[in-house]
């Protein structure tokens, strides 16, 4: 194990400055151990085998890849929405949905950069169930994605070991919640936090990666393998 760690530290030093700093900033020895564990398997680890099944990996890296997968989906969706806007989109909607697209691209590229060589491959979205010319269809899908994203981050928080990663996830999830409340208000007034997402204690929904991925799988061509993610 010591040997693996040493070679990882060496490899880390070859990474671009920003990425290297990220790993130093965020993880230290714990993260290196996690990466080492993720790599110490028969397969070469996440990100190295493009194809039909995508292994998210284990530990905090696995959770970051999980977030990266969801952000890829959201970014691809809004990119398509703005490339072929639905009929009668208002200028306000066009402008704010452009913001949302940019936020999701920022999230996606952040995770991609932060994960570096540990990042999973680019996923292929399948949006065949969405009618991009219909406002109802687009906003319905947007609501589903945003609420799902909020519940995914809320549920993944307790699986994260690094306090810095947890803070980063926190910085993103509240923006997803702002999106969700905006999309929901476009669909129906005062549905920003209704009882389809909140319980009787006024708490939002959280979901496990398995629950989230089973709901997201219809939109992703590849099969996501979350079996190495932490479960508690």
């Amino acid at each position: 194990m010591a040997k693996i760690n040493d070679s990882l530290i060496e490899n880390l030093d070859k990474l671009p400055q920003s990425r290297r700093n990220f790993f130093r900033y965020a993880g230290g020895a714990g993260l290196i151990a996690t990466v080492a564990a993720a790599c110490h398997k028969e397969n070469p680890g996440p990100g190295h085998h493009p194809g039909k099944t995508v292994d998210l990996g284990s530990g905090d890296v696995g959770i970051l890849n999980y977030a990266y997968a969801l952000e890829q989906l959201e970014a691809a969706f809004y990119t398509r929405v703005l490339a072929t806007p639905y009929y009668h989109i208002s200028s306000s909607e066009y402008s704010l949905l452009s913001d949302v697209r940019d936020h999701e691209i920022a999230h996606r590229e952040f995770f991609k950069t932060a994960l570096g060589s540990s990042a999973i491959q680019a996923l292929t979205p399948d949006f065949s169930s969405i009618n991009f010319s219909s406002r109802d269809s687009v906003l319905g899908a947007a609501k589903a994605f945003e609420d799902l994203g909020v519940s995914a981050y809320n549920g993944a928080g307790q699986l994260i070991v690094s306090p810095d990663y947890l803070t980063l996830a926190g910085k993103i999830v509240s923006v997803e919640a702002r999106h969700a409340a905006y999309i929901r208000e476009l669909i129906s007034i005062n549905s920003f936090a209704d009882n389809t997402v909140l319980d009787a204690n006024g708490l939002d929904t959280s979901r496990t990666p398995a629950q989230v991925l089973s709901m997201a799988s219809v939109y992703i061509v590849q099969t996501i393998d979350a079996s190495h993610l932490p479960t508690a």
Binding site: S18, D99, S174
Partner: protein
Amino acid sequence: MNFLNILQEIEKADPEVFEKLDTRRSALKSFTNVSGKIALASLPFALGSMFKKAYAGGPSGTTVLDVFNFALTLEYLEAAFYKNGIAAGAMLIPNANDRAAINIIGTHEAEHVAYLKAAITAAGGTPVASPTFDFTAGGGKGNGPFQDIFTNYETFLAVAQAFEDTGVRAYKGQAPNLVQGGAYLTAALNIHSVEARHASKVRQMRKANGFSSTVKPWITLADTGGIGAAVQANYAGEDNTVQANIQIVNINGFKISADAASEAFDEPLTMAQVVALVTPFFAA
């Protein structure tokens, strides 16, 4: 009882609370200190067993109670604020849909109060009592900058926005103190995202009422959304565009403006920063 007294009480129970909760390094130290202080087996409530798991290597019992009592104090503030607003009715909030929205938000805050009190009790702690408030932000003198808080809807929504955006920052700032905290962390996160939904809605209401032509559901740079100096400090640091040493502006060749880069990530505040911001709303 005022807010500072409450914090002093928290500090009395746990003298290192601020050092522990406001620096990552000591937060890391504290969660290795697995607490034997709380006899979870004897807890009377279902919540106790739900939270039991949280103690297996997560934050210490005192850390959880400190964070939850801090959160409870902020929820008291919000719940009382909306209760007053709802009581003022159509005189304050002319639009029926807006009154319904404020009622929904206020209900959630009251639910958060009840939930946190139950959680603190179930974890073997004592929930702090509610302080009394001065919503003019006069520290109990009633002479603060928000004199017309319950008679002028624009002022009311401005303060609502500041409370919600700051609440989001406050919960976010405590998340690392609850790392590996199981159900405790999840509960805090599940409140955190609700505060963000509220913040988004309040910002949309300010736009729809014409109180700001530029405010968006998200926070652009350190912009107050047209409110101005009275709440500027609540947005300090929100203009950050570098995350974990990675510059988000134009990241990897994508056209991401500084506005969008700052909007895409909400920023945390420490307990001490939040205390400084909300102290004027607590009466002596």
